[in-house]
Amino acid sequence: MPVTRQRLTAALCTHSSFSFGAGTAGPTTLVRRAAELGYGAIALTDTINVTGGAELFAAAREHGIQALIGATLPVRLGDHVYPLVAIAASRNGYRTLNELITHAHAREERDVPWPVLLSHTADLIVLTGGRDGLPARLLAARRVNALEARMRELRGAFEGRLFVQLFHDRLPWDARRARVLRRFAQSLSLPVVAAPQVRFAKPDDYRLYDALVCARLGISVQEPHPERPRNSAGAMPSPDEVAARLPFPEALQNANFVAESAAFELLPERLVTPAARIPAGLTADQQLERRCFEALLTRYDVETLPPARRKLEEELATVRALGLAEFFLVAAEVTDYCRAHGILAAGRGSAAASICCYLLGITAVDPVKYDLLFERFLHTGKATMPDVDIDISSARRDEVIAWVESRFGAATEAMVCNKITYRLPLAIQDLGRALGLPMDQRTKLSRSLGRDFRGMSPRRAREAAVAFDEVLGDAPAKEVLIELLSAMESAHPRHIAPHSGGVVLSREPLTHYAPLERSSGGIKIVQLDKDDAEALGLIKLDLLGLRMLAALERAREEVFRLEGVWLDLADLPDDTRVWDLISAGATLGLFQVESPSQIHTSRVMRARTMRDLAHQIALIRPGPIQSGTVHPYLRRRQGLEPITYWHPSLEAVLGKTYGVLLFQEDVLRIGVHFAGMTWTEADRFRKKVSSFRDVADIEPDRQAFVEGAERHVGATREEAERVFEAVKSYQGFGFAESHAWAFAIHAYASGWLRVHYPAEYLAAIMTEEPGMWSPSTKRHEARAWDVPFVPLDVNRSGVHYRVEWARRDGKPVKAVRPPLCAVTGVSADAARSVMLERLRHGPFVSVDDLYARVALDRDVLEVLARAGALDALATRRAALYRVGVLTGSAPAGEQPLLAAPTPTPGLEPLGVEGRLVWDMHTTRFSTLELHPLDLVRDQLREWGASSLAQVGRQARGARVRTAGLVVSRQRPPTAKGFAFYILEDGPVRAQLIISPDLWSAHRTLVRDAALIVADATIVDTGYQLTLKAETLAMLEGPFAVRGYEFG
């Protein structure tokens, strides 16, 4: 009789790189490899997580194989932990698995106690683990009776779903081990299953796997460890190889049987909304309609009501069709809460185009008035989650999130996670340590990567060879390290961390979708990132902390405190002075328009309306920059060139942007109104345009686009091609128009406060630190705002920057007082304890008095003395001396029993330069008007370098030698290798343009220099003093400014 050889079709025990430090390949790579090798099914069984699940199922669908989701659970039995593989047999089993993983993460030991495992068994298939598993280890220890007892317990709990796992790692006696395990299983009438543990896709990945294991274990490759591999057996084997190593037909057959038994689709077709509060007797749709129509009558007048009503009815029909009414109501609950508690919050993004969002108070932009496109946000063909992003005052976001958790319940609310992927510096730290590179060498190497390479994926390590050569020279480890880094996948995850604001809200417990865990900072997160959450049918709200909203909120409170006026920041009057300020480019400290390129654009654009401002904000983004929009837009706006359209039909779409592509909505509208796409097709096309990396990805769309345009608007092939090319070049990030409008409102509010209440606004932005400029730069800008600073003072300063009345030239003037917390190392609690004591028993009269009344650490007292906070009590040196004497004599915060210790000797007071240096070291800025560059003025004169103020008085085209403190370094990817540094000298700043050649020639200098001396040509003058660098030199200074960096 012919014997049919059993063929293995399922890889059941596969670890991806989501088994952090215990796998090298992403789920997609593993699926691709499994398909290549002829498997029909693959199970992902990462260690206590299912984070790779959504990717696995999507990839498996693409490659036509079956995906199974499971996890490896560390199960605790007494003092020992045994890995056990659990595979979900159904959606219900998936929930059980998630509950077990959640349980493990809730424990400090991150494991599943045996009784917990036995009480969570529904629809789970269990494999007993590989070399470290319970059977293999107890058999090796000859504890057969104990093993039998445990296996009987497992068999009872997982009846018919427990399999003894056979493995073969090509280690000595593995064949015999497999036979023994099989015999043992037979003795208990348990089925066996062939399931070698896969840790990487191909044998060559073995080295990287070993290095990652070492990094995870914190050992070097020289140290042996039982968890380290000894060969490449962790590579995915072919079914034939498994059959040869484990020649037991029933084990192969059972693997196939497990795969067949565990077939279910993880990714649903529809989104599931969270449960909103709805009055009894109403449906969600009725409640949404009720709220919207009520608000409609208050927001619109007779003239605007009819179009608004039409738009609302259309939107409501779409929302009804998609079953998303509760989603809108839930988002409204969040903004309702914020409003009721005085927290500034406003929706941003495409949601600002929705009249429902506007009427519910989620957004502040009227989409009817500004003709915003709802279809960018939602349309009936949209299968993906609508984005509702709500900006919340960063100072109070935690309060809102805590409320959301209490409102929706701990089981149905969590932050989504970010998959933190390796970049070169972190990969160098981890793999370098594994290779035995000392810490200082790793740190030096990470630093030497500089702006050129540090953002790169480790895979591109070879491109950073110059940095490796600089630090490692000819060390043998260099090449090995580069090889390891190059072998990493481009998005190799290292760990997960909370997302900046994405909250998922679910109708059912979140463990229906994924496990929950707490981040190291205590934040509850679901093991899904935002894309995975969407793929699994969850709806996400982005509750984003926006520092500018916190600053606006704080400024509003300061104005109220000092002037008794409560400002409605969403409804400020239109003010010519605000537009004059913006048009002059005096925008430092203003929301979204304070960068050097925005300052330049402000002066050209000369915005006079909110529409202008929204356009300006959207203009300086990668999409418009790369599509060549910026210059035509500005020139056409100024009347320097005629407004033209690629096709007459596009006037309706691009009329308000002078015929150029500015917004994401423009791409959508072109797709629909020009190329004849449906909204769904156009939305897909828009996404592709904004995210494609390779031209080949977008080219397949050309023909359909061109033919669509020929058919739909009668465009010629040439015209259609031209439009396609224009759209194609709108690559990378661009703003949705609705988003730009939402931001324009905040930008205007910031400008309005800057004009009307500069001191209050300055105090607010110094406290909340929105935007890109350092405290030191803002302090010097304050001179232009005519806002003086008053010194840090332990008897007057508090927790935040505050405005107080001071006198200047005999007249009252509002001045800004820095807080004690501005001093590095002084916590808000420490500052509060000083304030409270001051309030209870009056001002401090001496350093001894402060020391006796407040229990402050010596470090805090010393840094306060250095920062000048005790200047009113003693000179800085004397105060510092006194702190030293006092801390050696009695505990702080207690009245001394003995007489005061030794008096302070006469110490020479610190000069003004010394005070500046101490200020900069302790608070990153100084209330003195002296600028750090003043400390090296003599040297600069010796170099023949003019001050920036002198340079600013010269004409365009003049060649100058000048110098400045580097306060911002930008090298955006869109700038073709050019870098833009901001040099500062007192209140004057200049942009220094560094060419790619100069950059390459001075790689170390541009990376490390705090003070730069440059020979340069003046390109522009005024607020936007711009210099083109010709030569560069570095000047040693007493300190650097930790300024803004990008690119």
Binding site: R170, L171, P172, Y206, R207, V221, P229, R230, S232, A233
Partner: protein, 79 residues
Amino acid sequence: MVPIEVQPTRGPPRALRWTDPLGRAQDARVARVLDDWDYAGRWWEREVRRYYLLLETDAGHTLEIFREGDAWCLSRVSD
């Protein structure tokens, strides 16, 4: 390590020949393969993979041999 000649060059080994420390030629016939395994070596020092075989000879001896690249070596003999 002692170089060893393995016959046939492909497939399961059947005959072995090597020179012992005293310079005498030694021959053995393989009765059976007891085990085999892989050792990847210290990859960070560029060591190459070794494939080990544990063999029993007709004479009742146990030999551990390994292949590194194309060459075979005898690493252990026990009787």
